[in-house]
Homo-oligomer: 159 residues x 2
Amino acid sequence: MTMPDRLTISELSGRSGVAPSALRYYESVGLIAADRTSGNQRRYRRSTLRRVAVIRAAQTMGVPLATVAEAFAALPGQRDPTAADWERLSRRWRTALDERIHVLERLRDQLTSCIGCGCLSLERCSLFNPQDRASRLGQGARYLLGDDSAKVVDESRDR
Amino acid sequence: MTMPDRLTISELSGRSGVAPSALRYYESVGLIAADRTSGNQRRYRRSTLRRVAVIRAAQTMGVPLATVAEAFAALPGQRDPTAADWERLSRRWRTALDERIHVLERLRDQLTSCIGCGCLSLERCSLFNPQDRASRLGQGARYLLGDDSAKVVDESRDR
DNA sequence: CTAGAACTTCAAGTAAACTTGAAGTCAACC
DNA sequence: GGTTGACTTCAAGTTTACTTGAAGTTCTAG
């Protein structure tokens, strides 16, 4: 009973904390895969546990599943991913994550200094700058093209 | 033409970068309000600009609109919010934002050290710990109750 | 005063990420 | 070998945060 070679869906669910229905959904969108028993039941490789963990980590970062699927496409389909495979993936997300953290930090500072201080002038306040929402993560700087910035610049004295 | 006292919906949309349809939606869920002209068209107070900016900031933080609405309930309904009003609100979110940033930072570090390094043992790796997903922001530590933690602890050698 | 742009409401549609339910099949234990 | 729990598929429902479209009204410039 210790360390089964292949996991049933409820085992994977129990170990990953992800509902069976969600795991089936992940399979339906190509994020994970499973072998089948003669009776058509799913049996997951142990490496799937790691995959699921990475999926949840990505979601915490704000990465949509479609983007995760894209990234997973770079992983080997047949053999289990190696450490190097996972590392390539982590490097790819690391930058985006750094950016996202940066945006949130700026927002935090603004939240105190701009809203909190009572400086009700909206000029040059990045909290009010739509450009700062370019933090969707996943596609990169989509927002940065359309020069939405400086649109919310306003004279002053808005309560 | 400089600095109108009340804004039309397209003016507010233009200045905030938020689509008119979204603004109407915000009104429908009680996030913003507008006076009406004799002909039933919306005229927004200038303070609405700030409200909308705060809504977008909250979304960047990952706060759902329902939670924003709750927070806004603490703002004065009649008079325009003062700096102190906004500050109370910002203090309330500041903590949550700090937490969220912290979670993402831990995730970033793990993303490199745990996945990247090839230490494929999953024990004590917070990337694989469902507890770390307690970052929903808004309700506080909902996840932290159900002791989901230590569920994903696994023996080792998962690829 | 009239054309056209901008506005109104309301219903329905969309996308993501699932969950739920029905109806049936498989596996494990005594 | 039967029964109970776990599994299967498939369709439909849910939530959030909107957008789109239809059908009609109002505002503003000439």
